[in-house]
Symmetry: D2
Subunit: 345 residues, 4 copies
């Protein structure tokens, strides 16, 4: 950590800063420049309360040298992590194709959609039973009945399932039914929820918040990792932007950036990122080309009757075509779309 002092800092002020640093058991290394004095802190900077250092009156700026996350960092763990979701691998060259409707709906519809996406090549099936909705008057999901349907449909087609959990009190329940727990963008910094999924044994799909930096995202992964759950998959799903033409800004550069900073897998969700069906296939391809370890796409056989997010769903035949292109691209990139888990008769 480096402290840049204010212009005109007095010797007394400088001594005070050094005392404070040494009181934390660290060494201070003074360097007087032409215009400013700099103090380098030598020792393990993750022990430092940055804010209290920044509050010292003579300190103009605090520059961390190391990232604030440890378990999530690439430095601490140079090899790419591979997360196993009930037999389907994500990361390290293994590509997940996650597909399904926004919400769990009628049973026959769930079967129809699952059959179509699995035969297209999807290897994880999705559907929401507890829905975080911006309106209190909107459909809030089928609850436990939705979890049951999702699990049954997954078993029928031999595909693991992922679903969102929105409440720390429900983590245990959702983990009984689902192979993977999704933490949604709006809950990325719901630390009570992160702590609970960190204590679960299920892999976690952690979506990036709409105003989260990549560092913020990795800090939230750190919460889960630090509670003992190493199976975290990140997801870029669009950040806030100024152009109303798309729902969010699809920050595809976050994919190689996460791969540079962290060992954790990262997938993309062009459905939520763009909110426009026409943009989903090219953006799905872009995500893969940028190195994503998976692609999450919403699929519905009749978007105009979907209980939520209909306008951003692909039709099964559109998904079929996209999945075929994604498989070709994965091959070109030297990657493998993970096969379905073998049936354990």
């Amino acid at each position: 950590m480096i402290l840049i002092l204010k212009g005109g800092a007095t010797d007394d002020q400088i001594d005070h800063v050094i005392e404070r640093v040494e009181a934390m058991g660290l060494q201070a290394h003074l360097s007087r420049g032409t215009f400013r004095t700099i103090i380098g802190i030598i020792g393990d900077e993750t022990q430092i309360v940055v804010e209290s250092i920044r509050a010292i009156p003579a300190v103009a700026k605090v520059v961390p040298v190391l990232p604030p996350y440890k378990l999530a960092s690439r430095e601490a763990h140079p090899d790419a992590s591979v997360v196993d979701v009930s037999g389907v691998k994500i990361g390290g060259g293994n590509v997940a194709l996650i597909a399904g409707p926004c919400s769990v709906e009628e049973e026959d519809r769930m079967h129809r959609i699952a059959e179509s996406v699995v035969s297209a090549g999807a290897n994880i099936f999705r559907g929401g039973a507890f829905k975080p909705r911006t309106s209190p008057y909107a459909f809030q999901g089928l609850g436990e009945e939705g979890l049951r349907r999702l699990r049954d449909v997954g078993q029928a087609y031999g595909v693991p399932v992922v679903t969102e959990v929105t409440d720390p009190r429900l983590v245990e329940l959702v983990a009984e039914y689902a192979d993977m727990l999704q933490v949604g963008a709006r809950n990325m910094q719901n630390f009570a929820l992160l702590n609970e999924v960190g204590a679960s044994k299920r892999p976690v799909l952690l979506k990036r918040g709409m105003s989260a930096t990549v560092t913020d995202l990795l800090m939230c992964a750190e919460y889960i990792l630090s509670k003992g759950n190493p199976n975290v998959v990140l997801c870029e799903r669009g950040i806030k932007g100024f152009d109303p033409a798309t729902r969010n800004v699809y920050d595809v550069a976050a994919v190689p950036l996460v791969h540079q900073l962290s060992h954790l897998p990262i997938i993309v969700d062009p459905s939520h990122a763009t909110g426009k069906p026409d943009l989903i296939p090219p953006c799905a391809m872009a995500g893969l080309a940028a190195g994503a370890d998976g692609v999450h796409v919403e699929v519905h056989d009749c978007p105009e009757v979907a209980k939520s997010d209909g306008p951003q769903a692909l039709l099964p035949e559109q998904y079929d075509e996209l999945a075929s292109q994604m498989k070709s691209l994965a091959e070109l990139l030297g990657k493998t779309v993970s096969p379905l888990p073998e049936k354990t008769a």
Copy 2:
């Protein structure tokens, strides 16, 4: 609600849209323009699932005519609401001055800070016992012991207290100690938490999320109102921006905008909005001048030992000067800084 159809929509497609609208028990009003066909929907549009309408293939754009919130809207409730926090009024010309440290800390320090801010004119005391921290390794607050200290200090100086609640499982506990429950920016869309504070009898201070539009904020207020708790005070505390010079962008125009759209009071928090002590006093004054119903400022007597957010705290003597200016400005604007509640011996 107005549906703008795609160029080249066929008669069959138009008929299909009309059927769908009528199936919802609403009337469709067709208007063929020179270049596009428009369908106006007549009836109560809050009954419509916007997303399913938008997913109809011939529909290019859906334009809502009414806001998506009802209970929070100014139309439904033309007079400004006044929220009473254990005797201190907020809104309708009554100004709240909320001050105190970021976190609840040592007892003697809490007393010193409370004494100074109350004598400066603050009428609500703040302090965090459960802290949502971006790092799992940072100080997470004193928990129930912090609540107890906060309540005791508030009682000692005859001032109501506000503190943050971050977990739906803790709402009841926090409500036992605090006069007002704060929902923080990161939890603005934590709907499980909103439902619980909506079921509480304590007034709620709802902070705007960093990427929330004013409509998003009002929809979250609607969650609380719709659960039966009418005592919601909103708070502008900075939104995400691109200039690293300040922690957030202080969106002061949100104050008159909320007053235009809603009857709920709104206060400002220049401490979190700017993250820089030098900017807090001018931004506090700006918020009041824009019509805010209160100003929330963090105060600490030794920021460099604060357990959190030290760099953005004012010193007691700085707060004293600011409070005096705020009182003059409130007077100029024809408003009153609410007096402390009378002692109930």
Copy 3:
């Protein structure tokens, strides 16, 4: 165009709106809803001064039905435009690979870089002679001497050249030397400059401004098209965002969005979008996968002595590897990297 009136608009106010519409030679079509009155305007809405309509007191909201650009729109010109840059085609399945240093520098260096990128597959060579620099003290480019060097190097390797023009007074001079004129992001809305390049016969590479919506970008293309120059290629090069980890946010979804709204080709510039060499190759691939008609990459053989933007340049050997991957991807997508123009002996 649709006008949504304010709640409680009186009959007199409604009549006034209708009069104003009819005074513009258009028809007004009234529709009284349950909560609001709507007026549809029938006729050519591009003739309307939107702002004056919006300023009528009874009008709450104006919703345009058509896009504000005409010549640039896909509706007006359903087939993809192909722009020819001195024999190199861009658009309609033809891919441009533009590469070269940020600034024109020493002659031997220019030759070395040009030789390497052309042999890697680049079909347009770039280099800046007039540099828009954020600091008045930074290197401002070699001026006309830079233009001369760039042209000479291009001719030596049989490759067209593109360079930036920053001043309306210089358009004619730059057009004498360059095959394509670049309008930079900071000048996207420099309308005096747009008018001049619109009057030129050279194709124009128009970069998206850092806070420009896709509609803003297309309106600037409209300026150029409306002055008689049909040869406009757009460029996504990153928009402003809140994460300091990358220089800008690479908005790859703008590529398919532009293709949906407009017939004009659009290329991507991952060098400026990310500002980080490690992110450039994956983001270049992402752009192509999203459907871009070309990729612009800065290349320098010794970034640490580059006169500008060194840190975001690829080394020649890195570009060679990337170009090879881009050619494979273009093939997979059914596209062709445009061959160099045949030598006109």
Copy 4:
């Protein structure tokens, strides 16, 4: 300037960095931390080409210690600058009230508006003769005839005038008619234009670009100052944001931030910042309360016939009320609304 080296930088790499620094005539000060090596550069860092340093492979991060602007900085010039616009002072406790229509329009209307705003207290009159419009089909201003009308109206009411210049070729012409030259937000980084207004003797009103940081804004002021024109007044007029409810985000914290970093005056423009008449008065007051040296407001007597930006104009009677409140607030803050220049009969 501080260089943070990458983890695992070798001794050879470190030596190479030191050589490069010393080759620039500066000293390198090495500091080996527990996890990273740091190099402090001692000497005048404004001489350094930051980009070339950042491009050295072993360098992970470059942290400037000094701001990149010199002439504009508060350090170089501790006292607030006062800019004199033909007798009206701006800065250092002197408040400018700038008002007038967006575009110069009919002569009698110009007289009516000028008379009303001057009698309300405005001390600079505004109006656009060359309009930068997002559409090539929109009204582009009256050109020189507009300048003439603006000057004549200003003289009739004894008030200096400000108008926008959009083209470097027109600076001389506009300077003949106007007392102050405005550089608009879209041209903030039009360096050719900045150089020309820098060479003019007229004071310059430099508006902040929609995606410009405060540092970007000050660097553009530096362009003008470095060309010899010391009379620069900055203007906060809204930055790009994600909420479509307002036209821009009114970044009022930029006012005290500029005052901290620079000696130049800064005014606010709530008309362009919000785009909504109802929000203009509270935001004007907020700007003054934040310490602005002036307030710029558009006023029109019949917004629905205004040739541009009608919807964001106040009516004369609304401006009259606002001006009266602004005068009271200025007085409360210990400032003076500058009087009109004395008639030089």
